[in-house]
Symmetry: C2
Subunit: 661 residues, 2 copies
């Protein structure tokens, strides 16, 4: 579905427009007409003939004949009347609709049903719907403010999407105060038809945009989202503030958005895979917007940060913060407490003349002879002279730096109240620049699905691993007649539905050195589990005991939105304590599997640190790749754990496996 | 030294006062006279007869006769003339001095020498000196602004100390803008004579103060500081922003303060021990000041946080942040997007009527019918009606919430730009309340010092441990004649100055099962190290090999400011990878030693999680206590490591020891 006329309609109609200024429909009408939209505007109201000086129509069907596919319809009437209007869209051929009205999925069973009817109709007739339960949209570049939020933004290069209307309206209010530049504002609401991916797809080809920022409480289709973001992020950053990252927050988000797709871990893993910038809170979101106002963020080359300051203390805090985020300090020059604007000017220009200097943070604290406003003018002039260099400022204080701050903000110099905020924001940019270099397109699995497995019998599960070239420890069903064929030392295990928690059930005996020891262990186990062994799904196996290994855990969990999430980590007794795992999306190759392992804190140990043994991490990486293949070809498997994986100096083997269908 | 007249002088003299408004001495004079100070004011200037309408004196010695011990002298003249004035103080009996002038320790060798001469004179004659290189001090309660920073603060209950003049002046400027209440502002400067502990000692008994906040780049005398803070923090919080926490930041701080006492780890451990609130950055510092403006922070009882909001999104982010900081959400009520001030009022009052509700955060985002200012009035009224309850606000937005914000700030309702900031600040308060409950006074070690040990010979070091009841693994100097007395399995180790890195040197052989195996290993080792063994300090030992244990590391490092810092953590191959250690100050008892161990992530494993073996953590705790005693009684030991400590199901033993004198 093209969104061309959704964002650039030739005409706009507002169902719910009214001469009552308090009505939302009227506020939308005001925003559209006062915003300078150049197309035709049709207020629609059952009773009124004229609204805000415009001819009003009693019904959508009474509008003058035209190409309705190029009209944008805004609906701001009570929820129970909305379906009727959508039906009219079907008959008229209207394809682009914003439903501002609330009272749908977010409001109980009735609302859910109401929304479903609309969605069915829209999908059948290919109607783009934004919302319901949203603020609307603003396309600053063509003066279209089809929202009930006052905009006041100048045309800029940033697109802002928000699933929460409240966060959206707060952001707009905040941006207006900062005299901010914006390209698009889009309030997603319930995402009944259009979701973040649809909008991203449209925005991806918009050359006006430099940055896409979204506040999201859930991502409807993770795989599609990754496909899009991984493509876009190679050219311009996509930054996401994902709310509901805690269990409690997630539950709350679910209750007020009416749905929640994807686990938080999966979302984070998926966004990282796609190369998105992950924001942690609203402050980071707003600060990021500042950084990206000018094209200077695009500078290439050395990403060191250079400091100019008139005070030691704040510089120390800044350097602390740089260290904490593993960023590199370029130069740091203390102009001393009596630095006036001239001293700043000379130092700043000298610094910027150096071609290797790309990023500068100017710190200032108001002291006796400090000239905050003049210093701000110096910075503005330097920013204009060197448009390709990123010059940020942090003037710490209150009244004494207020007008300087306004001047810097008006001139789009990224300004931060505290230097630590500047560093945190700069870190996001630096990280993005590193990541975008080898970002690969996400390709959802499109190969053939293998025949579904029918159960999770232990030996069958091991056989499935082998089929995918995942080596397993030699394992036999216990048979006292074959006892002389076994190679000792051995491990004896009880397997089956009654032995899911092997440690607690004492279902594992290790270090069996010979046949008599094994037989003794078998007798004890049989005696303790007589009843249970009547079920043939419970049985005994023996495995050859591994020697000289490190214990690893490996597995995947399928997310409904992002697909299989691969996991590798530290096994053994410390596994639960340190939760040392790395996650990845299942489109991985050998190189990325290796990166997962190298990202583990225990990697130096696997790699033979301090003259110790070196383990076969390549074999482990191959195992991860093969397991990802298995995960992709067996969508019926919800979860699979290999714990332990033994990694040896040569090779690696699955020691145990658990499958959940 | 009493600071009574330092903060409450009967008269103030300013050396360096001038009719030139640009001179710092003149600015100080203006601040004193315009600030409403009621005592006598003496400008001192060689040439001028009258300054700012006050009679001026050509020299300190020309002042009218009076009790000079009750006079405060401010010095604001070039550094090279300051010593002369201090000499006059000695002859006149002036005891309280602020040196504002810079050009001392912070400025090279000359300045260092200059400062030393002044310090010697001051210490010999018991003269209190603040600075040099500082802004001065403000005692708001008696209208004394003896600084060159404009104050404008109303009398309040907070004392603010800053080692950095720039951070101090930025803070004052910021506080002025917020119409903030303050009790004291003290700029520490170079701390030549008066340091943070001296000032803390004076402030500790001041009932006007509710909170002490300090920005510090180093703590001169850690043990004294802990003694004071641990006493004060039982009654009122002491919050510290310690700059220079990173290696690079520390180096920078050192270069501009001219000194740096104590390692950062030691400082953090010491401040925690003393019950201080640890601040991470300037934003946290300023936010904390807001929280403590009213006495409401003192509320006792349940420390859950209750939420009122008109928007789901920000509430989700708030709950995420609560979870992240392990705080408990009380109730959370969404008043919905169309909540007006009345709805807020009813909900807020209903909430506050509940006696178990102590802490409330009111969230607001400007939406269509939102009434930010009226809602702020509602909150102010509620704060006045319930002065014992902590009511915080976070109104997210720009212009639409600006006047509401001012109203809340003017009425001392803690206001935060973003809800996450509110949560982070509230966390500090909640943590403080938990900690202050069992806070014990820090008592510096005052027992007798034992005879110094003379070297770090391995067997002597083990003997020293034994003397302090720290069990050690049975260890013998290797002697082939005694080979039949040894109990196998054994470990063979080469010991001495040439075997400090045993693993790299292959100086340890384990699993020696019998005499012939041992002899073989000895032969190999002797052959490989023929030269080295000519030095009798290098020799071979054998140790009985432990079985069924967990490996722990234990030790201490002596900090020049905070004394011995005890350390316990995970040993074995994962020690370096996970750096799982807990640190404590050496005044610990058995209970706190146990808390250290329980604070380790691996504690569940030591404590027999999931039906595993349970190890003797009490024996380990005793070992820590005994080692602390050793550390206190042997100040000549700079560092001591026991690695590994074997912890068994019953008992624990030192397996190896390294001492640095």
């Amino acid at each position: 579905m093209s969104l061309k006329y959704f964002f650039n309609p030739e005409a706009v109609a507002i169902v719910g427009a009214s001469s009552n200024q308090k009505k939302i429909g009227r506020q939308v009408l005001n925003n559209i007409s006062q915003g300078g939209f150049r197309g035709r505007i049709y207020p629609i109201n059952l009773q009124e003939k004229k609204i805000a000086g415009l001819k009003a129509y009693s019904d959508l069907q009474k509008l003058p004949r035209q190409d309705f596919s190029r009209l944008l319809l805004i609906i701001a009437i009570p929820a129970q009347f909305v379906l009727e209007e959508i039906k009219k869209c079907v008959s008229l051929g209207i394809k682009n609709v914003v439903i501002i009205s609330a009272g749908f999925k977010e409001g109980g069973a009735d609302g859910k049903e109401r929304e479903k009817l609309i969605v069915d109709l829209a999908e059948k007739n290919k109607i783009n719907i934004l919302g319901p339960n949203c603020l609307g949209l603003i396309n600053v570049s063509n003066n279209l403010n089809a929202s009930f939020a006052a905009s006041g933004c100048k045309p800029g290069r940033i697109a802002l999407l928000s699933q929460s209307g409240a966060v959206g309206s707060a952001a707009l209010d905040w941006l207006k105060t900062k005299d901010f530049n914006l390209a698009y504002f889009i309030s997603l609401g319930n995402k009944a038809v259009l979701d973040e991916s649809d909008l991203l797809e449209h925005l991806s080809s918009d050359k006006k945009i430099d940055l896409i920022v979204a506040y999201l409480e859930e991502i409807t289709d993770g795989e599609r989202f990754m496909t899009l973001v991984s493509k876009i992020a190679k050219r311009k950053p996509v930054a996401i503030l994902k709310a509901g990252t805690s269990a409690a927050g997630g539950t709350m988000a679910k209750s007020h958005t009416g749905s929640l797709a994807g686990s938080n871990q999966a979302v984070i893993t998926g966004l990282k895979r796609a190369g998105a910038i992950l924001l942690n809170n609203l402050e980071e979101l707003f600060n990021l917007l500042f950084l990206f106002q000018k094209k200077a963020w695009k500078n290439k080359g050395k990403q060191e940060l250079h400091l100019l300051t008139n005070a030691g203390g704040p510089a120390v805090l800044t350097v602390d913060s740089l260290s904490q985020h593993n960023l590199v300090l370029g130069s740091s020059l203390d102009l001393l407490g009596d630095a006036d604007a001239l001293r700043y000017e000379e130092a700043l220009n000298k610094l910027l003349e150096d071609k290797s200097v790309n990023n500068v943070l100017v710190l200032l604290t108001p002291q006796t002879v400090t000239e905050p406003l003049k210093t701000a003018e110096v910075i503005v002039a330097a920013s204009k002279k060197y448009p390709a260099k990123l010059i940020m400022a942090s003037f710490i204080g209150g009244a004494a730096v207020r007008s300087a701050r306004s001047l810097l903000e008006d001139n789009e110099v990224p300004f931060f109240e505290y230097p630590e905020e500047a560093i945190e924001t700069f870190k996001q940019l630096a990280l993005y620049k590193v990541r975008m270099k080898d970002l690969k397109d996400y390709l959802p699995f499109s190969g053939k699905k293998e025949k579904e497995i029918s159960g999770n019998d232990y030996l069958h599960s091991l056989a499935l691993l082998k089929k995918y070239n995942i080596p397993t420890v030699k394992t036999y069903k216990y048979d006292h007649k074959k006892i002389n064929n076994f190679r000792f030392p051995l491990v004896l295990k009880a397997i089956g539905p009654d032995f899911l928690h092997k440690t607690e059930k004492k279902a594992v005996v290790i270090n069996l050195e010979n046949a008599s020891g094994l037989q003794k262990a078998v007798r004890v186990m049989e005696k303790n589990n007589q009843k249970v062994f009547r079920n043939p799904l419970n049985y005994l196996i023996v495995q050859e005991q591994a020697d000289k290994f490190q214990e690893i855990i490996l597995g995947f969990k399928r997310d409904i939105s992002f697909g299989p999430i691969m996991m590798v980590g530290l096994g053994g007794i410390y596994a639960e304590v340190f939760k040392e795992v790395k996650l990845e999306i299942a489109d991985l190759d050998f190189k990325r599997a290796l990166l997962m392992i190298q990202g583990l804190k225990i990697y130096p140990i696997l790699n033979g640190a301090r003259g110790l043994k070196k383990y076969d991490v390549k074999a482990l990486a191959k195992m991860i790749v093969n397991l990802a293949k298995l995960a992709n070809e067996h969508p019926e498997i919800k979860e699979l754990d290999i714990n332990p994986v033994f990694i040896f100096e040569k090779g690696a083997s699955a020691g145990d496996v658990r499958i959940i269908l």
